[in-house]
Symmetry: C2
Subunit: 280 residues, 2 copies
């Protein structure tokens, strides 16, 4: 949809936003982004997202032209202009590029900042009720703590994933489970919840779920071994667009009894409760 978006200080329809070909984002894949969403028309944990966006920019040595407060004000303006409401939610993509490079290699002094309003992806209901299947693949994201725009491997693997009828790819590396292409991954051993500490994106939903889980379960944030897939009782993924989604199969291995686990369902409930509490 052709929503009102933000482009370097201007509010434009999305199809009016055009970027000069010498932006380093096109010549060298140099850019960072972030992606948040609304629930019931209101943003969720926006400060966490904007702090991460700032950290990504800093990590890639790009100077963010707006402060957090200014970005929030732009986002609120865009949501209003696009008629966000209790009944109409949006995805909000922040994109900071390397800018118009003089030598096709080194970042410009002034990066380009875009804030795009998008429709949220629609996932079938059974993703949440029946759980999804993941395909394992050996890969570690380059600069894994920075949210760069590099999804080369993820997108490249899409065809294989579809052939295997998996809903996402789970990256493992050197005997450890890391994350999926766009979500964090968790597993339960009984009432102990485990998620990877290093070499993964520090997800905002991951953070929220870890905090919630600590109220009811033992939580271990540590290296998560690939072989734990064979012994775990439940798995799920967390992400901005998917919330908490049960995982019932990884490659050919069924998890638990092949249905969403009770602890996972409990966390989904708790997650929905804080969304309702904070946004409704």
């Amino acid at each position: 949809m052709n929503y009102y978006c933000y482009s370097n200080g201007k509010v434009l329809r999305k199809n009016e936003i055009k970027v000069g070909i010498v932006d380093l984002v096109m010549l060298r894949g140099y850019g960072v982004f972030d992606y948040l969403r609304t629930y019931y028309g209101k943003t969720f944990h926006i400060n966490d997202y904007l702090t991460r966006f700032e950290q990504s920019a800093k990590g890639m040595k790009l100077k963010l032209p707006l402060k957090q407060k200014e970005i929030i004000s732009v986002i609120n303006h865009l949501l209003k202009k696009n008629n966000a409401s209790e009944k109409k939610d949006f995805g909000i993509r922040l994109l900071l590029t390397g800018g118009y490079s003089l030598d096709s290699y080194l970042p410009a002094i002034k990066p380009n900042l875009f804030i795009l309003i998008e429709n949220l992806p629609h996932y079938p209901d059974w993703y949440s009720t029946k759980g999804i299947k993941l395909m394992l693949s050996e890969h570690k994201r380059e600069m894994s703590r920075i949210k760069t725009i590099n999804y080369l491997t993820a997108i490249h693997l899409s065809d294989e994933r579809r052939k295997l009828k998996a809903q996402d790819t789970l990256y493992c590396y050197d005997g450890k489970i890391l994350e999926t292409t766009r979500n964090n991954f968790f597993l339960f051993h009984g009432n102990t919840l485990v998620t990877a500490k290093n070499d993964v994106l520090q997800g905002i939903s991951r953070k929220a779920v870890i905090e919630l889980a600590r109220r009811k379960f033992k939580v271990e944030v540590r290296a998560m071994l690939k072989k734990e897939i064979n012994s775990c009782s439940e798995c799920f993924v967390t992400g901005t667009t998917r919330g908490v989604t049960p995982v019932v199969q990884i490659d050919n291995k069924k998890i638990g009894n092949g249905k969403p686990g009770k602890n996972t369902l409990e966390l989904i409930k708790m997650f929905n409760e804080i969304v309702n509490k904070e946004c409704r």
Copy 2:
């Protein structure tokens, strides 16, 4: 410089080429490119470059809208229109992007193709006559045989490289020497020339130099160990813009006597001879 360039079937000045923000190259860093040059106004080994570009497109599952012959015809048209001559050489950048994605994730049916005419980078004369210094860094390029636009690590390391007064970064990984950020790397043990076989870009200058070297030296294309830096007698890099450039230092280790080696100088001479023969 604002040269005439090609954008999806149109010839435009570079600053007139604008790309819609939803191109997957900006949202997900999804694109491939190639870069060739002219010598004395004529392209050098253009078929090798275009074949590699086709392979990169295929490797990333992008459909190249033009055939080799058609691309050559566009390039010749652009060179003429920009007054390429014996005295004015250009770099030619081919860029194929993921196109305007419907869901911000999967490539479009129709990628976008750009052919950009650029000034060649200018390197100081001493790079060739005195040789350059490299900084070692542990890294392996994702999808190393495909020329993707991903230079996140390379660009990110630029500040450190400058501080160390090195002219480029040499990637090593798991005890092996691979390549620099944009060049292939070679070393001599006496009259035996070695370069990496796997996990490196299959450079067109690399290919030309290997063929030339076989006339005079023993050539080994194989895994090149990091510890060989300590025992080698000469090093150099090859690349489209740099040709053959001697390397006289890697981190704190001086190579040979700290001056360009005689075999390297011989290869530079041979390389210049084929350039003259084919383009002059």
